[in-house]
């Protein structure tokens, strides 16, 4: 819908007019049934990224909050970004805000050092399970930057904006995360 030129794929179907876009426009106009279809079509990826970001214990709550925020903000979606990209941004921002609030509470309780609850094994390859477990041991900020940059493909500028840090900090946290993950996962390789 972004271009006035009608583009078609190799089988002659119009490009960019998928079910998700249609449902997003309907939901933006207040159609809750369309929003439920959107949720079902996208929840696997949203839950997947939030699970890595906030850990398995809080992932379901974060996912629900993400969709409530998406519903509220949908009228702002103008189709300038792919719907899924926009949705992930909303989800991540909501999760980071939620973590910040939780972090403040935890600081008061002084029982937390900034890492997340350990990640229980997720379904998938052994390697992926190792990665998820290793992510759970990282300092939270480093883990967030790694997930957003290396799994989600965000730029350091985008990450900096979402996490409230400079692009330079995002870069150095990424380096730190990769080195720590290599250490952890490399150890397992050599044990195997």
């Amino acid at each position: 819908m972004q271009s006035g030129v009608q583009q078609r794929d190799s089988e002659g179907r119009p490009i960019g007019v998928d079910r998700v876009v249609t449902d997003a426009r309907l939901a933006a106009a207040g159609d809750l049934g369309a929003f439920e279809r959107l949720h079902r079509a996208t929840v696997g990826r949203v839950y997947g990224v939030l699970r890595r970001l906030v850990g398995p214990e809080e992932a379901e709550e974060a996912t629900q909050e993400a969709y409530v925020q998406a519903w509220i903000r949908l009228p702002d979606w103008r189709g300038e970004a792919r719907f899924e990209t926009w949705l992930h941004r909303v989800a991540v921002n909501a999760a980071v805000r939620g973590r910040r609030r939780a972090g403040i509470r935890r600081d008061h309780e002084a029982d937390h050092a900034g890492t997340r609850a350990p990640v229980a094994p997720a379904p998938g390859s052994d390697e992926r399970m190792d990665l998820e477990a290793a992510l759970g041991k990282l300092p939270e900020r480093a883990a967030q930057v790694f997930v957003l940059h290396d799994a989600e493909g965000w730029t350091h500028a985008e990450i900096g904006e979402a996490l409230g840090v400079s692009a330079g900090t995002s870069k150095s946290q990424l380096h730190r995360a990769r080195m720590l993950l290599r250490e952890t996962l490399g150890d397992r390789e050599s044990q195997a």
Binding site: M1, Q2, S3, G4, Q6, P14, G16, V17, V21, T22, R25, L26, A28, A29, G30, D31, L32, G33, A34, F35, E36, H39, R40, V43, G44, R45, Y47, G48, V49, R51, A59, E60, T63, Q64, Y67, V68, W71, I72, P75, A122, P123, G124, S125, E127, R128, L131, F146, V147, D150, A151, G153, K171, L174, H175, R178, M179, R182, L185, G186, E189
Partner: protein, 234 residues
């Protein structure tokens, strides 16, 4: 030549292509000569491809009921909700403009906008003609038609909210007449099944560019139809 520990500090940025210049060259030189650092680079690449593996994962239970409950709570406060897409007449876009006028408190044609925006005087009107193509909606199920109409409605509702929509209508399919002036005066004949004009929107815009931008987003384009944009002379 740099030592391995120094090189490894640079590998992360090297892999992202962020080093540039001499630093990049010295890492490349070192990698050419050092198996251990090359293995480290491969390990790093493996980590990144692992991270990029699709992280599709279903929650342990259906999250929708909880989401719906919270949204319905939001609705109590905001009033923005419409279940089933039935706030406007879904069968005919002919009902669209009137529906919008009612829904948004904006009397499109009788009294003009209830509260004209200051920039109104700079606005020009444009006619968006929706040309049908052979396959625009042929073979569509009632559900597909309903969803298509709701898509146009959502698009138009956004325009109306921005005070850029003057009127809109869907023409009746497969009906109408063609009139021509013959030797013995005007003659008319039923319009046959030929691709024609399905409907129109009259929009307002501050410039041709803005009008084009609006027209580019018209759902009609995404459905295989064509859109003609014509400035209306004042």
């Amino acid at each position: 030549m740099k030592r391995c520990s120094e090189i490894r500090e640079l590998l992360s940025e090297y892999i992202d292509g962020g080093l540039g210049g001499g630093a990049e060259q010295s890492v490349a030189d070192h990698l050419g000569a050092c198996d251990a650092c090359r293995r480290e680079l491969e390990g790093l690449r493996g980590l990144l491809s692992l991270a990029r593996e699709r992280t599709h994962e279903e929650p342990s239970h259906d999250l929708w009921p909880g989401i719906e409950e919270r949204i319905l709570g939001t609705f109590e406060r905001s009033g923005r909700i419409r279940t089933g897409g039935r706030r406007f007449d879904l069968r005919f876009l002919a009902g669209l403009a009137a529906g919008l006028a009612l829904a948004l408190g904006w009397m499109a044609w009788s009294d003009g906008p209830a509260s004209p925006a200051p920039e109104d005087t700079l606005m020009a009107s444009y006619l968006l003609l929706l040309h049908e193509s052979e396959d625009t909606m042929s073979g569509a199920t009632p559900d597909e038609i309903e969803s298509a109409v709701a898509e146009y409605t959502a698009w138009a509702a956004e325009l109306a909210e921005r005070n850029l929509l003057e009127s809109a209508a869907k023409l009746v399919d497969f009906a109408g007449w063609e009139l021509v002036m013959g030797d013995e005066g005007p003659t008319s004949r039923p319009r046959g099944r030929v691709p024609g004009i399905e409907g129109f929107f009259v929009i307002r815009a501050q410039s041709d560019e803005q009008a084009l931008e609006i027209a580019r987003d018209c759902p009609h384009l995404g459905r295989g139809g064509e859109v003609e944009l014509r400035p209306i002379e004042h």
